[in-house]
Amino acid sequence: MKNMTDSDRTRKKHKQPTNILELLLALSILSVSMYPLVYIFRISQIPRQKTQTEYLATLLAHHVIETIVARKSVDPSFLPFMSDAEPVVQSADSVAPVSNYFRGICENGENITENGPSQLFWHLKQFNCQIDTYYLEGALYKVIVYISYQNEGRNMRVFFERLLPQSDSVEQESDE
């Protein structure tokens, strides 16, 4: 009987560190195998804010391109000029001028301000609009519209580009 108890104790003594090792091994393997689960869950979630911000930036770029198209249609000699990144709304904490394409677009003919449609103001406040232009061969003029914003500290931007004729010949276009 005494022999049996001694052997049990000896076995327990040896068993304890083995169990901890096994537990650690199990945890490590399980945590690795959990990664696909977490990854799939993460990518299956709609990145709502990011996608919607990008979507709104695309709408703003579309607005700028359409304004250029409309102006070109009225005045065939019109070519848009280059501009730095400028805000699309007028806010009290910024002295930078509002982008030319977003001036006077409120119903009252004013810029979008906090006092205007505040819902629109707060959603658009994060965006800046920049225009780059290039003279190309074949009497073409390339316009690139950048709508930039910050996402988690990173600078993001959406761009549309369009080819315009330098004269009032047939218009060629290319949106991205």
Binding site: L30, L37, Q52, L60, V69, P117, L120
Partner: protein, 149 residues
């Protein structure tokens, strides 16, 4: 040299890992299935409705000759003064009706829909849609008439 053994065998650990991977796969299949159900996403994502507005208005503007602003809406008029489509906010929902008077719901739960011509350019329509839920994304863009060019 003694071989140490515990209560959890290596085979059990591997089996557990496999079970987790199988669960992950099942979850991926479920998510894929749910993402295919567009109807469920319409209520969750307002941009699906906005896409319909964008798609239809771009098509109508391509052939439109002029815009006619109406209360809470706009008419796109084509060649020979023939109306191409009408967009109107009715009971907080925006509808598009075409020349056959066929009406289609584009976006619901809107607080306000504004259609107005640009101050200097009467061939440019500015569209603003503000959802009832102020946390939702508003819609703002423009549509230039191409007149079939």
């Amino acid at each position: 040299m003694k071989r140490r053994t515990g209560e959890l065998s290596f085979e059990s650990i591997i089996a557990l890992a496999f079970l987790v991977v199988i669960a992950a796969t099942a979850m991926a299949i479920l998510q894929f299935h749910l993402s295919r159900q567009i109807e469920q996403r319409v209520d969750q994502d307002i941009t699906l409705g906005y896409n319909l507005v964008l798609l239809h208005m771009r098509q109508d503007a391509r052939i439109g000759q002029r815009y006619e602003i109406i209360p809470d809406g706009v008419k796109v008029i084509g060649a020979d003064e023939k109306p191409i489509a009408t967009y109107q906010l009715i009971d907080k929902s925006m509808y598009r009706s075409d020349e056959n008077e066929k009406s289609q719901l584009l976006v619901s739960n809107l607080e306000k829909a504004s259609f107005r011509l640009h101050q200097e350019l009467n061939n440019l329509l500015l569209v603003t849609l503000l959802p009832v839920d102020r946390m939702q994304l508003p819609f703002f863009t423009s549509f230039a008439l191409r007149g079939g060019k």
